[in-house]
């Protein structure tokens, strides 16, 4: 049965629909979070068995392979943490809880279809399912002006970027006569049209569309404003989930459909990677708001990740996937701490507010230090191992200059990450911060992310093997 190949997605859809229906009749809204957890767990169990139906299905629209599964597992793990964070965050603000959880699951559904897509039409469907849900999610604090501003900015710029992507897809379809990724690669090779201007234009337009979603400089302008305005759990979800999904599909489309244009997109990506790292890190230095700082830090991390895509091959792509896993958990953890210190959710967001936290709340201070050091790339934490593999793969493939830029940028980034740590431990507290009583769910989110930030760095071989096995489609 071909239906088996999308069984995880079906389970997730049912869970999201059930949440909508339960929300209408049930008064106790806390149950919605548990249903979302249950749905995610069920999807995870089904997804783990999805490789028994390996290969193409639905007339070449869907492909079941290790690459898709790798990302689906990453997304579902991140979704667990985001739901735990949301259960803490929305305990008072229950106005839109049903919509929140079902939109979150629909966004994950879009992500899961994106990484399984073997056809540009399916890629587009996945991206839209994800984007439409996230546009609404970023505006879900209805009484907060900044949240509305974030949603409006995101939807306007997102629609603009989608137009670029679609135009690129249509041009590539026009030149090669297919939207199927493998068929495009075959057509490019068979018709000998590497220099065809329309093909190059299509590639460039798609690059812009993906670049927007991944927030590469110069397509990053929306990122800080949207990340600042959106509620913290949604920001965390965008910074890890949306970015990882966009990168995954970016990588698959370019390596599967346009490997022949290697010499055209690789130099572009080198320039974008250097720009993204440098601009992201330099602007992050001057940020006073922790959410904006993390937004610029996520831009800079997109630049590091691009190094892996540039290096490519057997070392570059796995190290990029490994770094994505690392990045997901350390970033989620940092946002979880931001949330723990925000009283009603959106308080104490200035970096100055963090002064003295280290002595007053030693555990929170320690956990935040772990995430900051990991983001800066300091051993033995996972951020260091991730950067080590990325940069060494770049050196191995002959991109020494790019690796040097990456290392220099890590040094710059250490300044603003360590600044938070210095604030927490070496300044007397300026503000009387009493975090709202922590719920078990947030504690669990913090424990999971802290544990993984250590574990992935100390025992990297399991994750590296997974990443290496997941790039079957390249061979």
């Amino acid at each position: 049965m071909t239906v088996n190949t999308i069984l995880p997605e079906i389970v997730l859809t049912i869970a999201a629909l059930v949440i909508l229906l339960v929300d209408v009749w049930v008064k106790k809204k806390e149950i919605l979070g548990y249903i979302a957890l249950l749905g995610t767990a069920a999807t995870l169990i089904v997804a783990l068995q999805s490789l028994t139906d390996r290969g193409y299905s639905f007339s070449g629209m869907i492909v079941n392979d290790e690459y898709g599964l790798f990302f689906q597992l990453l997304f579902l793990a991140a979704t667990f943490v985001v739901i735990f964070m949301s259960m803490h965050y929305f305990r008072e603000n229950t106005q839109m809880l049903g919509e929140y959880y079902s939109l979150l699951l629909f966004a994950v559904l879009g992500m899961m279809f994106m990484v399984k897509a073997a056809d540009l039409v399916m890629v587009f469907m996945g991206i839209e399912t994800l984007s439409l849900a996230v546009y609404v999610l970023s505006g879900c604090l209805r009484d907060d002006r900044r949240s509305g501003e974030a949603a409006l900015k995101y939807i306007l710029l997102g629609a603009f970027a989608t137009a670029f992507l679609l135009f690129g897809i249509s041009l590539i379809f026009g030149v090669t006569g297919s939207t199927n990724l493998a068929a495009i690669a075959n057509a490019v090779a068979a018709k000998n049209i590497l220099g065809e201007p329309l093909l190059l234009l299509g590639m460039g337009l798609m690059l812009i569309g993906f670049g927007f979603k991944v927030s590469l400089v110069p397509f990053h302008m929306w990122t800080p404003d949207v990340y600042e305005g959106a509620p913290v759990p949604v920001t965390a979800f965008m910074a890890v989930g949306v970015k990882a999904a966009a990168l995954a599909v970016f990588l698959r489309v370019f390596l599967m459909a346009l490997p022949g244009l290697n010499d055209n997109w690789r130099p572009l990506l080198i320039v974008l990677s250097v720009l993204t790292m440098t601009v992201g890190n330099l602007i992050a230095i001057s940020q006073e708001n922790i959410k904006r700082m993390l937004a610029y830090s996520s831009i800079a991390h997109a630049g590091y990740l691009m190094i892996g895509m540039v290096a490519g091959g057997d070392s570059g792509v796995p190290s990029m996937l490994y770094y994505l896993v690392v990045y997901t958990f350390m970033n989620l953890g940092a946002f979880a701490v931001v949330m723990a210190l925000g009283q009603k959710g959106e308080d104490n967001l200035e970096i100055n507010d963090y002064s003295g936290i280290g002595s007053r709340y030693p555990i929170l201070g320690f956990v935040m230090t772990v995430f900051m050091l990991s983001l800066a790339g300091i051993p033995p934490l996972s951020g260091f191992m991730g950067k080590f593999y990325l940069f060494s793969s770049a050196v191995k493939e002959g991109y020494v200059g790019l690796a040097v830029v990456g290392v220099v940028n890590s040094l710059i980034s250490a300044y603003y990450y360590l600044r938070v740590t210095v604030m927490m431990y070496m300044r007397p507290s300026e503000k009387d911060i009493a975090p709202a009583p922590m719920r078990w769910s947030l504690v669990l989110a913090l424990v999971i992310t802290t544990f993984l930030t250590f574990q992935i760095g100390l025992f990297p071989s399991f994750y590296l093997e997974l990443a290496k096995n997941s790039i079957f489609f390249l061979k």
Binding site: W25, V175, L198
Partner: protein, 118 residues
Amino acid sequence: MLKGYGEILFYLVLVVGFSLFALGLSHIIGRKTYSKEKLMPYECGVDPIGTARIRVSVKFYLIAMLFIVFDIESVFLYSFATVFKELGMLGLIEIVIFIVILVVGLVYAWGKGALEWE
């Protein structure tokens, strides 16, 4: 390479050309009167009362959105109906799933009070 797009170009030229032709012709041979009444905004033949730029209640948008959703549903159903026999049982099951998802949406909208005007 671009073969097959010739028809589209021809059609594009035809469409633009015809529009220009029709508008231009009426511009050239039509009679022109510029009376005050003619330049007024048209409101069913009644003299306009006040400006037309008023705030529209957000409820209209809600109704419009619901309308579009079920309009699209019927569009899908029409195209499904034309190939009903070829698709067989599987097609029927799929369209039922499609409708069930929309019904869930309707139940949700109903339960949340989107269909009430107050």
